[in-house]
Symmetry: C2
Subunit: 189 residues, 2 copies
Amino acid sequence: MNSTEIEEIIKSRFPVLNKDSVIAFAKFSSFLNFKKGKKLIYEGKKHHSFYLILKGSAKAYYTKETKEVCSWFAFENEVIATIKTFNGLVSNETIMLLEDSKLIQFNTKSIKELATTNLDVSHFLNDTLTEHAVFLEEKLYQLQFMSSEERYKGLVNDVPGILQKVSLTDLASFLGVSRETLSRIRGKR
Amino acid sequence: MNSTEIEEIIKSRFPVLNKDSVIAFAKFSSFLNFKKGKKLIYEGKKHHSFYLILKGSAKAYYTKETKEVCSWFAFENEVIATIKTFNGLVSNETIMLLEDSKLIQFNTKSIKELATTNLDVSHFLNDTLTEHAVFLEEKLYQLQFMSSEERYKGLVNDVPGILQKVSLTDLASFLGVSRETLSRIRGKR
DNA sequence: AAAATCATTTGACAATTGTCACAAAATCAC
DNA sequence: GTGATTTTGTGACAATTGTCAAATGATTTT
């Protein structure tokens, strides 16, 4: 994939960026092809990249002792990043590909530097952060007000195909219930 | 309070803003004094302001049927806003003052317009959004990994004085447990 | 294809928490 | 201060969910 193609993708996915910003953005980007199971970000480490999924999917999870809890999933056309690593801090989650995937990798530091002088890029960060905050608020709302059964049904409805890509174990932890409880929710119909 | 004083407060609270931005910012700001119980933002309505608390405190809550769940509390020197109203949408939470408070009110639309041309202001929004996202992620993490007792103790430790300002009913819903369960957690010592 | 590994389901039981009803304590209004 | 209202605490019980163990089903490896 050459840099013109990357520019095209950036342009269509991030319409807030104007022509010059797209070109600047693309300078710090590269195309990557990874196998299922590849970890893009490790809990406990600092990282200098974020990603856009062109094809494939990923999960983010926290661990505590032996317990593993998924915090989100990402699919085609979605941005993969963590707030912590984006701000130069140690990540508290791991990000792993759920299948062989094609990605565009961006250099965090360079894009952030770009944002200090480039309004478009700063607006891009704003939009992305807003999206993320809305996602988190919605998730909290659902945890407070919806039963685990409603959350399950809502998710399957909102993200068609999720059952094909994500294991029920991961799905259960994402929904905030044990594997067994999810199994029982699915059982009654 | 005159506009120079407001400028001083904005300058010290939002160091990311340079001198000119502070002055521009202050143009869309005003000082307010409200009584306890005043609602700054109503669930189901659009609003055109966000606030900085100079003195006092506030809570944000969702309602569903008769159930009321606090999503956050804000104290001195903190910003009060909701993502939804900030983006011109109907709010899904209500914000109410917990005591007589002194606030600075900002006009959302004007500040957003300022951000389209002013890099500093755009960075200010970035910082504020990042802070908010970190807060939400931390809250989700605690809900997944910590017992309600640990969450209670952690909160009391992190926010000294919260027990004096917030009712136990609100605190319980914020922690994600029933009033009675919180009462029992507090009981055992 | 058999063996091995991994994911999911199911059962039995325990632990946690919610709900309802009411009592006690604190706060507010007059 | 007194009564009324609101907030908090407690008990009894039910409902939900987690945990552990084992069985079944699916997938991968050899």
